[in-house]
Amino acid sequence: MDLLDNLTLGFAVAVSPENLFYCFVGTLLGTFIGVLPGIGPTATIAMLLPITYYLSPTASLIMLAGIYYGSQYGGSTTAILVNLPGEVSSSVTALDGYQMAKQGRAGAALAVAAIGSFIAGTIATLLIALFAQPLASMALKFGSPEYFSLIVLGFIASIALANGSVSKALCMIVTGMLFGQIGTDLGTGAYRFTFDVIQLGDGLTIVAVALGIFGVVEVLRNLDTLHEDVPVLAKITSLWPTRRDIAESSGPIFRGTLLGSVLGILPGGGSILSAFSSYALEKRLSMHPEQFGHGAIAGVAGPESANNAGAQTSFIPMLTLGLPSNALMALMIGAMMIQGIAPGPRVMIEQPGLFWGVIASMWVGNAMLVILNLPLVGMWVSLLRIPYVSLFPMIIVFSSVGVFTVQNEVFDVYVLAAFGVIGYAMQKLDCEPAPFLLGFVLGDQLEDHLRRSLSFSDGDPTIFIRQPISAGLLILGAVILAFVAVPMIRRKREEVFIED
């Protein structure tokens, strides 16, 4: 069977010594930054992008992937033990997990979180393996109009699924696209918006932009509100959950995995959305909803499985279609481009070892993480004693060096500083950075497909509606947009009522 062959190839690649090592590095690093609040997987991956230049493409992706789903494990450890979620996706885990810890059931919470995450990771890996082929072969039939509509749909869906103002997110996407236009227009070879600055000829370096608006801005925001909370450690009695715990967790784990797998694929989806949705779902389905917030184990099992499944399946659009479903995936694409690999449906055909190796390594990584997290829990928690005062200068300096090494170009460092300031101003005005990065990465592709489609149809814009797949995608986008707009109007009216 094809699937078996591919998985065999994948595992053979994944357990090679080099890839195993980098998988370990990735998951270790992921757990580390997952535990530490104030630094997340997006900024870390942006920081390590320059280093991936020196690794093989497979090892790079394996390591970066390990950082992402590893951070989901690490975040839950501190969420449960000290009520300090290391990652946003673990904030729901803290709700019931910390309560369980206060009741002396920290061990059970940690175990359920780790086991749920592992089961979710295994099933998600299988799902990726199952759906990759059909998705990619379908995508190979896509022409420019279909790609154009797909990207538009991706933009719309990523806004709709995020919280925050839809109209401002739309503005951020367009702004991102405009900044992405700076540089050379590949279609005509003309310089755009470069103002005779040579270094802008190739456009703004994505590592500098990404690190600026995610890494530097995060540091600046933390500096605004530095507070030194001495974490109160809850004691861990035994690591084993009771039989009742297992019974109460299996449903949530299964549902969380399913929910996370679906939500992870959607643009704008990923671990955060999956975790929050799972918590809401479990609370609604529970026979004892009043227990939620006071130590219901379903409130830990569901979200933890969901966030892991979501993190892994968010790789599917990137690996099969070359389309990032969130900012982090956009950076993964950056890593592939550094290696000279053009992401898209052809990757599966031209680089099967890379493709299936990365997928198989996700399972290997999950196994490593269970071993890393459970026995070594004490060590991870003691890391929380690193004061942020020492941590943030390291982040700033490391980012500066990293950005410089991408092209040995001083200008890039100045771009980093600029986007730190710009990104900070944006965030102060409640504008989301993720849509900006998505627009920045995908803008040129969108233009390219628009140009080709219109030149093919001699300037006729109805080509996007005449081709059935493209039309379907656009209609879906319009429906989603309508869904989001209508409640907003309703809410606005409510607000006005309250003001009166």
Binding site: T175, M177, V397, V410, V413, K428, C431, L450, R451
Partner: protein
């Protein structure tokens, strides 16, 4: 009339950005026709779209109060930005080691919780670690001591 100042400012900013890009594209780049898009076509379209969307954001900001903007640590922004800019300036002139050291010191002073001892330890640690990683482990051709300090 109440104004959500944050949204109003954001909307105005977007309008400004849209005007800038669309204007530049219209005056300096060839627009072409839809069937044969020139380099200025897409930016002009995007810029115009942004102007429209930005106006929408400003319009929606009327009649609603905004949430407070929160504390802003000017020292934080200034020192962090200075740290990054210093690194960019110093790495090719003074060399990697002075650039790392200066940058770390500047970054550390962004917080009023930094201690002198902590800053020194951090500086030494970061300088050693980054030099070891980038110059020796990864073999990057960055001079550790730059031309200005070498005396020629």
């Amino acid at each position: 009339m109440q104004l959500n100042t944050k949204d109003a400012a954001a909307g105005t900013m977007f309008i400004g950005i849209g005007l800038f890009f669309a204007g530049y594209a219209y005056f300096n780049l060839r627009l072409g026709s839809p069937g044969a898009m020139g380099p200025g076509f897409f930016p002009a379209v995007l810029g115009s779209l942004l102007i429209v969307l930005g106006t929408g954001v400003v319009a929606k900001s009327t009649g609603v109060r905004s949430s407070p903007i929160g504390r802003t640590s000017l020292r934080g922004i200034a020192m962090v930005t200075l740290a990054i800019i210093f690194f960019g300036f110093a790495v090719r002139t003074l060399g990697l080691v002075p650039a790392l050291a200066g940058s770390t010191v500047l970054a550390a002073s962004a917080s009023n919780r930094s201690t002198f001892r902590g800053a020194v330890l951090l500086t030494v640690g970061m300088t050693v670690f980054c030099t070891a990683l980038f110059v020796y482990a990864l073999g990057l051709p960055i001079p550790t001591i730059g031309p200005w300090l070498r005396g020629y």
